[in-house]
């Protein structure tokens, strides 16, 4: 079958897989789809699902780069499908694949349970010595205090940083850029008093010291969180062992 590619049509090559087992290796299926103005990769996936392959599985929700659901590999690069314009991608074919370093559930859907469990491990919530006061009075903070961690609150838990990190792919116990960034975000929050509880899990070879400053997490992050910066700042905080702990 000959395919006529025009400037109004391109091929979407999708890595499809039923499950993450060796006897079901992934196969690549190509779908010709029409390009419309302002079309994103997510729009292309939705068009293919509606017109060509109803069984195609992928995650999405907000369609505006804020929920972090649609992270996939687009032409080998971990990106958000809803924020990647078709016209910004070169070549006649666009290849989409599931994120690496995550087990594949089906097609482009990956298992995030390990990712979430690492996040939970760092206790990603404010810890107060007196829990009763939470909700009973305001915890005041200056603008300068807020700016120390505000950048790292932009994380949407899309998982692109963990997908890009070379250590996450090797060390399954490594907490990963996302969890470590959130650990730092809380460590320097003036309202938090849980540093002594968090520090033990961070001060290990699978914690902040597992980071080798490859920087690909920051290169992949779509929200400017800069996880590599957070982890280096976390290392310094962990090294200051004799600083007064909250």
């Amino acid at each position: 079958m000959s395919v006529v590619l025009t400037e109004r049509a391109r091929i979407l090559r999708v890595h499809r897989r039923i499950s993450n087992e060796p006897e079901n290796p992934s196969k690549i299926m190509g779908f010709l789809f029409p390009i419309t103005k302002g079309m994103t990769v997510l729009d292309a996936l939705l068009w293919v699902k509606e017109h060509k392959a109803q069984g195609l599985a992928f995650r999405y929700s907000c369609r505006m780069g804020i929920c972090g659901s649609c992270g996939i590999l687009i032409n080998g690069e971990p990106e958000l499908a809803c924020e990647t314009q078709i016209t910004a991608l070169s070549g006649d074919a666009i290849e989409v694949a599931p994120l690496p370093n995550f087990p594949v559930v089906r097609d482009l859907v990956t298992e995030f349970q390990g990712f979430f469990s690492h996040h939970t491990w760092v206790m990603p919530y404010l810890i107060r010595r007196n829990p009763v006061e939470t909700g009973e009075r305001e915890l005041l903070q200056t603008e300068e205090e807020k700016l120390r961690y505000y950048q790292f609150t932009m994380c949407i838990m899309c998982g692109l940083c963990n997908a890009a990190c070379p250590i996450v792919g090797v060390d399954q116990e490594y907490l990963g850029p996302q969890a470590l960034t959130q650990a730092y975000r809380l460590a320097v929050d003036s309202r938090d008093e849980g540093w002594s509880r968090r520090k033990a899990s961070l001060d290990t070879v699978h914690g902040c010291w597992g980071c080798t400053v490859a920087g690909s997490c920051s290169a992949a992050c779509p929200k400017g969180v800069d996880p590599a910066l957070a982890i280096q700042l976390l290392k310094r905080k962990v090294l200051l062992r004799f600083a007064r702990e909250r």
Partner: protein, 141 residues
């Protein structure tokens, strides 16, 4: 374990293909190489305690041209490892990595900023220079 090492190798060449990640890969490789050399070096220098004949016998063994190629690779690897290691040290311990700012679009990734990139280029240049110096020293070209 072998699968994980393969994963690591693939990860280094997977996108995003930033220079810093490639530097990490070379840092690992050169580090293991230098450690193996160190172990061999400690063993070889230990033969001096066996007396003149033992020492000169070991030197004759190491007069193989392949040993000179190994030494050249050591010069290059050790130079890159040292200078890139300084870059990593500075990123970990000093404000070279940047400081938290309000993230306004277009986002500027501070940890991959110009300062540390220049040090990385310096590491590559110095590795090249040590290759040239090594060729002069080893083969007198």
């Amino acid at each position: 374990m072998i699968e994980r090492v393969g994963n690591l190798a693939r990860s280094v060449f997977r996108r995003p293909l930033n220079l810093e990640k490639l530097a990490f890969g070379i840092q690992r490789l050169s580090g293991v190489g230098i450690l193996l050399y160190l172990m061999m070096h400690v063993f070889v220098t230990g033969t001096v305690t066996g007396g003149r004949e033992v020492w000169e016998g070991m030197m004759r063994l190491l007069a193989d041209p392949m040993a000179d190629v190994g030494k050249l690779m050591l010069f290059i690897g050790a130079t890159f490892h040292g200078v890139n290691g300084m870059r990593v040290l500075l990123l970990e311990l000093t404000p070279l990595a940047g400081r938290p700012v309000r993230p306004d679009y277009p986002y500027r990734v501070q940890s991959l900023g110009t300062g540390q990139r220049l040090i990385l280029y310096l590491a590559m240049i110095m590795a090249g220079l040590s290759a040239i110096a090594g060729i002069f020293i080893l083969w007198g070209v």
